[in-house]
Structures are given as C-alpha cells and as structure tokens.
C-alpha cells in the first residue's frame, strides 16, 4: 500500500478504471495535455491518448451535454467541471436529461456518467472557486451526489461512481487534495454509493459531516475527548444523495445529541435534511436541539476572510458543548 494524496488517489482510480474498461473516457477543460489544473488527470493522455482523454472547448453545458450523448451511445464519460462554481452552467443538462433519460425512454437509454467537480474553500482562491453547493444536486431527482473525505475513500467512491449505471455528481474537496496522505491499496477497492460510515465511535454526542469538513470535525472530537472527556460518535456521510440515514439516526438514538457540520450555506442546506430525518426517525430520543455548524447564508468571502466563514474545530467544539449542556 502506498501513501497517496487525494489527487494521486483519484488519479489512480482513473488510471485503473480506464485500463479495465475501454469505454471509460475523460473529458473537460485542460484535463489532457495539462493534466488538469489540479493535476488530477495527470498522465492519462500519455497513456490513453487524446481519443479517451479529451481537452474540450471552454463550455460547461457543452461538456455535460456532449457527455450525455456519449453515455447514451454506450461510453462511460468522466467529465470535469474545472470548479464547482462553474457547474451551474450545466445544471439544465443534468436536471433535464442526465437525470431523466432512463425514465423517459422506458429504460432503453441510460446515462452512466460521472461529473467531477472540485468544491469548497480554504485554498486562497479567487471568487467562484470556493463554493459548496452540493444541495442543488442532492435535491435533483435522478442524480446521485457523492463527496469523499480522504484519499482512500475518494478512490473507492470514484470507482463505484464510474461503474454506476446512472449519473453521479462527484464533488472533490480541493482543500484536501494535497493536505494529507493515506494508505491506498493498489488492488481494487470500492465503497457502495449510498452508504455512510461511522469513523469514530462514542456514546455522548453524534457529529455528522462529510468532505473537507471531516477534518475539523474529527479534530473537534479529539478536543472534546481530551478536554471534556466526551466520547463523540463521528459519521462521514460520503454520499449526500441518496442519503444514508440509517447510521446517524441509530447513533442519535444512542447519544440523543447531534451536531452537524458542512461548509455549504446553512439555510436550505444539506444539514436541514439531516435534521428532518432525525426528527422523522429518532424524535423520541433527541435530548437537545440539533446544532448546525455551517457556512453562513452569504457568499463565501474572498480568501482573506474565508476562515471567518468556514466551520472550524473551535466552532464545532463550542456547538458541541452547548448541545451537551442543553
């Protein structure tokens, strides 16, 4: 097992799936010769050629609609939106066609494509390069929405997404691209889409998060153990939609207290759905209001102040303590 960054792990998944299945093609802006602006697709064009690793014109709807056509014909496109902040240009193609072609054609056609997009803040980027709007896709029937949090689950989830017969929006936490390394097995590994994971067990409090926010969340769990002797159960959703509420509703029955964390704006954000599920399935066990530690309902500030906006371990710890004291 090699210790890889998330960029390397995603790159590994692409290499291996392209070797395994010649219908898998990669396309997007600068994904070929340049290897992607984050180097996620580095080396693919040399190995698989420009027929399978396509540098496209600068048009997000074009990339997406073109991929839908390829997928209908039988290819398995993995297309990239250079930043999730530009993915909205493709929204109508995903909502109207990728998400509907199977039902519309009575199953004759389906759209086995993956739309990769780096998302989230914390890399000192320019405007439109730090958004976290997974709720748009999660609320769209017919789409699956996946967000990995570590090199290893990024690789395993991307493999599952590529093999999924239906369209998957795959958000990559760009602030975690190179922030740390993890052992990633050389051999095949997959994680089923639609499955969350308990990454830390505990009885006192349930912390729910995903993607880049898993790091401050786990950090907060550490602090709470060290400073308060509190045992947090930490859940990584990994798939936002279809959301797996089995683990966090069970955990809430055990702990009775929940804090959830995401960097997306709070209102009408993913956290609201988590709360709704908890109320629907764990109502009688809830001992305190569920706290949302999230981005605020404004555009994430330019990078000098982006950490005013992004949830930190400290904010999570405070919310946890207030929830425990409730």
């Amino acid at each position: 097992m090699a210790k890889l960054t998330m960029v390397q792990a995603i790159n590994l998944a692409l290499h291996q799936e392209m070797e395994k299945d010649e219908d898998v093609v990669v396309l997007g802006e600068d994904v070929g010769v340049d290897g992607g602006v984050f180097r996620v697709t580095d080396g693919l064009i040399d190995k698989f050629g420009e027929e399978r690793v396509m540098d496209t014109p600068l048009a997000e709807s074009g990339i997406t609609g073109f991929s839908i056509g390829m997928a209908i014909y039988g290819l398995k496109p993995v297309c990239e939106m250079q930043f999730s902040g530009f993915g909205y240009m493709a929204m109508h193609q995903l909502e109207a066609h990728a998400a509907r072609m199977r039902a519309r054609s009575g199953g004759r056609f389906h759209v086995p494509m993956v739309i990769r997009m780096p998302y989230g803040g914390g890399v000192k980027a320019l405007e439109h390069h730090s958004e976290s709007r997974e709720a748009y896709w999660a609320h769209t029937p017919g789409l699956k929405m996946v967000i990995p949090s570590t090199p290893r689950n990024a690789r395993a989830l991307l493999v599952s997404a590529i093999r999924d017969p239906d369209p998957v929006v795959f958000y990559e936490p760009k602030s975690s691209y190179r922030a740390f390394r993890e052992e990633v097995p050389e051999g095949e590994e997959t994680i089923p889409i639609g499955q969350s994971e308990i990454v830390r067990e505990g009885e006192d409090l349930t912390l729910i998060s995903y993607g880049a926010m898993m790091r401050p969340t786990l950090e907060a769990a550490e602090i709470l153990e060290e400073e308060d002797g509190v045992q947090c159960e930490v859940i990584d959703l990994m798939t936002i939609s279809p959301i797996d509420d089995s683990k966090f509703t069970e955990s809430a029955k055990k702990t009775g207290r929940v804090v959830l964390v995401h960097e997306a704006p709070r209102s009408f954000g993913p956290g609201a759905e988590i709360i709704a599920r908890l109320v629907e399935k764990s109502f009688l066990y809830l001992e305190a209001p569920i706290r949302r530690v999230t981005g605020y309902d404004v555009v994430i500030p330019l990078f000098q102040r982006e950490f005013d906006y992004l949830p930190s371990a400290e904010r999570i710890v405070r919310a946890a303590r207030e929830t425990l004291d409730f």
């Binding site: 709807s61 074009g62 609609g65 073109f66 193609q93 009575g106 056609f109 029937p141 797996d244």
Partner: protein
C-alpha cells in the same frame, strides 16, 4: 500592413429543386428510386392526416397539448429519408412524421401526448432518442453520440432536429462548436418554420440566414427550400455522405413554415396574419410533390384517393388500439421505478408510504372555474 478581406474558404448556398408549381430543375434532380419517392409521399400524407387527427383528439379533450407538424412534412421526412436504420435520430418535439418514419409507433406518440410515460418507451433496435422539450438542449446529445460513433469506429451518422428559435440558445452554439472541433458525424437540421411561438424569424436573430451560422464553427452550412422534399433530400444526402466518410458535421437550414398552431395551447391570430399563412399554403410541400409524382407517372389522382382512404383506416385502427391501451394503463402507478437502475432505499420507503395511501391516490381537485384555451401550458 494592409486592410484586406479575409478569405473564409466557405460559402453559404441556397438550394431549391422542385418549386411550388411543381416545376423541376433537371440538373439538380436527385437520383431516387421510385419506391422511395412513393414511400416519402405516403409518409408525408400520413404525417399530415395523423396531425389533423391528433388535433381533433386534443380539441375533444382526449389528449393533451402537442406540437403539430403541418407544413413541415418535407423538411423532416426529406432529411430522415437519408438515414439507415442503424443511424441515430435526435428529435426535438415537432418531428412526429420523422419519428414514425424511423419506427416510432404512432400509438405511442398518442399515449405520450395523453400523459402516459409508457408512450415514451423506445424499443431496442430503434435508435431514436425521445423527444426533447427544452429547446436546443438535444443538439449537444447529437454531438456526443457522433463522438461515440467515431470512437467506436462505426459507419453510423446522427441527425438532430431543432427550430429557428433553438439557434438562439447557448446549447446550440456549444453543440455546433463541439461537433466542429471533434469532427463528429452529426447532421444539424434546422426546421426554420419562421416562428418560435410568437417570435418571428426576423426578431430571433439579425443574421440574413440561419445557414450562415455554420461559418461561426467552420463547418459546411446550406439553406434549402424546406417545402421541397427533393432539395431537402439532396442536401441531407450530401451531409450524410460527408459524415459517413469522416468529413464531419453539417448545418442545414430548411426554410419552411408552421402552417398550424405552435401547440394546441396557442392562438396564432394574436401574432400573425391570415395573409401570411395563405401565402405559405400555396407553397405546400405535399401538393407540389404530388404534381411532381404525377408528371413522372408514379401517381394518379385515383391512387392518391386510395392512399388517403388506406391512411384513414390505418389511423382509425391506431386510435382504437390507443384507446384500448389507455384503459389498460389507467390507474397504473408509474413513478418510482425507472429513475435508477435499482430502486434506492429512500425511494422504497416513499413507495411504501405512497402505497399505504393508495385509496385516495386518484383524487383530483375540482376543475378550474373558467377554463380557457391559453390556460393550458405551452408546447
């Protein structure tokens, strides 16, 4: 350091072969088998009559709103007549006749417009995409399918249809650009029927022709008389051959006219004159084609009568079959399956919740107080 004209190395041509009087330009007459000519004639006539029938089914409240093709039979049939079965068709929502030519069952078209998803089902072996309602969006799928064909080294081509209004959408632009850059075997057929609901062609874009938009992508573009089935066929034939030979995409503007309403929810009197409609009725694609076939002694008035009554019978059968099918399907629930290959847990839960409520599931709210034609939604 001059100021000089740039040679763009491409021209936009206009093609017309059979005029409204039924006169023909022999030099340009495409070489078509008699059977093909007669099949085309029958398909055009069938398209016209089926359209009329759908209109009164809709007016009679038996069907929902739909987009009539009256006047555009030549534009769409002349083009698809150049396709092989294994080729692909990517329609918009006004290609009923073309879809039927390509194997779509008329009964299913009626079912779809009656609001049954079952009408959208596409049988294996028929390479037609379902109708695409968001204007212009399907052109990108045709570009992508074209790439798939190229990638797999197949000899197929893909033909997509859209209207004059669709040329204003960003997706149209991105589709032609992608097709050009990746040199895909895609034929873009624009049925310029002069109107996008109430927006006239002249107000849709300032360019003199739509065909010249091909210059923006460095791909061949041609404008044809869209009511002249021979001209449409000839232009499409060239484009299909180029595509098959790996020479890439073509943009064809068929100049035609929407002789009927935009959809059954539309009232054209609000925005266009009867004179304009009458002017175009004189250019009807069917009567002109019949004149031609008669001159060629391929068709007589008696035979036309026969065909007409055959079609009448055929349509009667289709409508009967459709009504029977509707009965079968009524009350059937069709909502949860089909979205994904496998029903995910949360949809299973919702399905169970739904089924626990089935008794009331067919509840309908009282009818609105003052139904008006334009109350229905567009399309």
């Amino acid at each position: 350091m001059p100021r000089e004209k740039i040679d763009l190395e491409q021209d936009i041509e206009y093609l017309s072969i059979l005029n409204e009087k039924g006169e023909i330009d022999e030099d340009l007459e495409p070489d078509m088998k008699d059977d093909l000519l007669l099949d085309l004639h029958r398909a055009m006539l069938f398209g016209r009559r089926f359209d009329e029938r759908m209109l009164n089914l809709q007016r009679g409240g038996k069907m929902g709103t739909f987009a009539p093709i009256k006047g555009q039979e030549a534009a769409q049939l002349g083009a698809v007549a150049c396709l092989q079965d294994e080729d692909w068709l990517v329609p918009s929502f006004r290609e009923t006749a073309a879809e039927i030519w390509r194997g779509k069952r008329p009964e299913n078209i009626l079912l779809a417009y009656a609001g049954f998803s079952e009408g959208g089902v596409i049988p294996k072996g028929i390479n037609n995409l379902p109708a695409a309602i968001p204007v212009g969006t399907q052109t990108l799928h045709a570009a992508g399918i074209g790439y798939g064909i190229k990638f797999k080294g197949k000899k197929q081509v893909v033909m997509t249809f859209f209207g004059d209004g669709a040329t204003s959408e960003g997706d149209f632009h991105e589709a032609l650009n992608f097709a050009g850059v990746f040199n895909t075997p895609t034929i873009f057929v624009c049925q310029n029927n002069q109107w996008a609901i109430s927006i006239n062609r002249a107000h849709q874009t300032r360019s003199k022709t739509l065909a010249q938009k091909a210059i923006a992508y460095g791909i061949p573009g041609i404008q044809v008389d869209g009511n002249d089935v021979l001209a449409v066929y000839a232009a499409a034939k060239e484009a299909v051959e180029r595509a098959r030979n790996g020479e890439g995409p073509t943009f064809i503007e068929c100049v035609t006219y929407r002789m009927s309403v935009h959809t059954t929810a539309d009232d054209p009197k609000r925005y266009r004159s009867d004179e304009e409609v009458e002017k175009w009725e004189k250019r009807d694609p069917i009567s002109r084609f019949q004149k031609y076939l008669k001159k060629k002694d391929l068709l007589s008035d008696e035979e036309i009568e026969e065909i007409e009554s055959e079609i009448k019978e055929e349509i009667k059968k289709i409508v009967k079959g459709w009504e029977k099918k509707k009965k079968e399907l009524e009350g059937r629930v069709d909502m949860f399956e089909g979205t994904f290959a496998e029903l995910p847990a949360y949809l299973v839960e919702q399905k169970e919740e739904f089924e626990s409520e089935l008794p009331e599931k067919t509840e309908k709210p009282e009818e609105p107080e003052e139904p008006e034609a334009d109350e229905e939604s567009e399309e």
